[in-house]
Amino acid sequence: MALQMSSNRVYTFISSFIRESSNAKDPEALLLSLIKIVQKLVNCKWVAILDKNLMVRKSDTDDISIEENLHQMIKWSAEKMSPTSVIQDDLTVLIFPLVKTDRVLGVLLAATDEEPVFEIFELIRTLAFLSGVVLENLELYQSLEKQHAIVEETMNYMQQIFNSFPQMVVVLNSQLNAVFANLQYLEHERESKLVETIQKTASAVLTTGVRQVNEVESQGIFYSLIAERVEYEGQSQVLISITDVTNTKELERLKAIDKLKTDFVASVSHELRTPLAAIKAYSETLLASLSDLDKDTLNDFLQIVYKESLHLESLLDELLDFAKIEQRALTLEKTEFDLTELIKEVTQSMVEFARSKNVQLECETNEPIVIFADRKRIRQVLINLLSNGIKYCREDADDRFVKVSAKIDNKSVIISVSDNGVGIPQEYQQKVFEKFFRVGSALDYRVEGAGIGLTITKEIVELHGGKIWLQSTVNEGSVFYVQLPVGE
């Protein structure tokens, strides 16, 4: 007998189907609720949904047989987009294509042994139509999600590529917030100095629109920044790549040292040659005309030879010390001694040299200062500082002087050596302690010396646990300070 239903029930069915279909998160859930509602509407032996290729996609019974005859009708129904019903094995199979405008998304099959009335047929048809619309939306949503996943994967892929770069890469938006960064950047994003420079460079790019290059040192590493403008969704952004150039810097430094060494060899050869030439010339004269020379002349000549050989010795001593420093083999032999006495002794020994340069040498210390240090090395320090003071005297100055003093300050003693010589320009004040450095060119022969005196001095002071620094004004003079711990 024919099924009948009140319009009230029809609305109930439609309402519950709409509720279920709007809750469906994916096509499968929707199809399931469609199957359920059809079962409620008609007493079905089985309900199935075919995909657009007319293969069973979902059903409430496992083995559904679709005979050739039925299959032909399903195909016809899908092609014509017209619902139909066919009799197969005593069952009426209702066929409803799931259609969205001009496309078939699937087919709903419901097999029943009752004869459904016209209204039920129309109702299922409406539900099938609604399902078609919802199904398409869900499928669109799914393909959207799939595309989203592809975009995400592409993003990850790009991120991996960027992460494999040794450089830091970061993209800042117009508010200077990072919108993209690789791993290398994230590892450094807390270095405020680096980030500040990045932001400064980025805003320069945003205002000028031109590629910017910058350099920064952060935590002992030198970075080179290249910032370029990029467009994203109509907005200006800045792409910055940051490269660690420390090694390049180091290489540059080594190259500079190499050049200094070459210069050093040239200058040392010259330094050694000067006394040697004198010794050689006077010895030759002596040998050639020994019988002709009177005693005074002979004495003068031998004095010169002796003096030059001393000079040669001191140069070689310096070189030896320097070599020791280079090999880190310089050791101290500490004893207790009176520093004031040492200063007086050194001043005394250099009076002759000072007089030859017309320089007044003054010792301003009288109180004995007992320290525990390497006397020989401290003597070397004093000689070096005093001789520098004398050597770099200003030729146009009227009363040239070099003053040395020492005083106790807490547990250390501060020695100061001041002069009114040429002075050292500001930019060289740190460099004078560097190896092979001489203000001006290393090949300036007017002043003798290998350019390693202050390096050795600094090394000795630091070996004692002390410090050396200087104050200087060009054409007014310099003061070198040495601070030494008093010791045990």
């Binding site: 024919a2 009948q4 005859n69 032909q72 009708m73 195909k75 016809w76 092609e79 014509k80 987009m81 017209s82 619902p83 139909t84 019903s85 066919v86 009799i87 009426t92 259609v99 969205k100 405008t101 001009d102 004869e115 459904p116 009335v117 016209f118 209204e119 047929f121 129309e122 048809r125 409406t126 139509f129 619309v133």
Partner: protein, 287 residues
């Protein structure tokens, strides 16, 4: 001439015989079953034969031959079978007018059928589920012209003369001759035949879709309007309109389609019309 003058004589018009009326009423009954409809049709043997002929025509393109009415109803559905029965009735109404008339009834029928096929096709293309009703809407939209031909063949002749010489539309000619609008008459007739409201309104409104902007029938009126325009444009059959027809942009907007869509519709319609050729020679098939 007033609308009343036609309506008074509406009884002179061919009305569906009791069997077709029964078919129409069973097809509209929500509680009806295939068996009931089959029982109703079987009372008229020649109708049964004609229906089965059309069921197996290229228009429906069924994969196998249907020999039982019951099965035809199950497969094609109540409404489609009703449509076939009504087509057969309309065909005879149009072509069996033995009164003195100068018009080519076959060409008029061709216009009816073209519009019916086009309406069902457009309904499907825009995703309107109830496409079978649109077939009837298209089939009967100009049935008012048949009424005029029956009751006042001279007036019909005057209209055709006017449309031909002045290259104007049927409605414009009706206006000039103070004749009632044929689409209104169509609506009245369909109402009398107890067909669903959707058919009544889509037929009576097919020349004025803009009047239906607030109606639930806005979309079906738009479908009939567009297809009527297109079938006239394609010169499939003859509706005795020779110009002056305009396509309402409102109708296109209601369906959310662009004029470009009409080219696509026309291409598909040409194919469907070839498949529907059996409907053009319903009589010959039987005799």
């Amino acid at each position: 001439m007033e609308l009343q003058d036609i309506l008074i004589r509406i009884d002179d018009l061919p009305t569906p015989d009791p069997i077709v009326q029964k078919i129409v009423s069973v097809a509209s009954d929500p509680d009806a079953s295939a068996k009931e409809l089959a029982e109703a049709i079987k009372l008229d043997a020649s109708l049964t034969v004609r229906i089965l002929r059309l069921v197996n025509s290229a228009y429906y393109g069924l994969p196998r031959k249907i020999v039982a009415l019951n099965e035809a109803i199950m497969i094609l559905g109540f409404k489609t079978v009703r449509n076939i029965a009504l087509s057969i009735f309309t065909y005879s109404s149009v072509l069996k007018n033995k009164k003195k008339s100068n018009i080519d009834h076959y060409q008029l029928w061709k216009h009816f059928l073209g519009t019916a096929v086009g309406c069902e096709l457009l309904a499907q293309m825009v995703g309107y589920p109830n496409k079978e009703e649109l077939f009837i809407s298209g089939l009967l939209h100009d049935i008012g012209k048949v009424a005029l031909d029956y009751i006042f063949p001279e007036a019909f002749n005057a209209v055709t003369k006017l449309t031909k010489t002045l290259q104007i539309s049927f409605v414009q000619a009706e206006d000039r001759l103070n004749l009632p609008n044929h689409s209104i008459v169509s609506g009245k007739m369909i109402e009398r035949w107890n067909l669903p409201e959707i058919v009544v309104h889509s037929a009576s409104g097919h020349h004025a879709p803009n009047n239906f902007s607030d109606s639930v029938y806005a979309d079906v009126v738009a479908i009939v309007h567009i297809v009527d325009f297109l079938v006239n444009l394609m010169r499939y059959g003859d509706s005795y309109t020779y110009g002056g027809l305009t396509l309402s942009s409102f109708a296109l907007n209601v369906l959310g389609i662009k004029p470009r869509f009409l080219t696509n519709l026309a291409d598909k319609l040409k194919i469907r019309l070839v498949e529907a050729e059996d409907f053009l020679k319903i009589e010959q098939e039987v005799s």
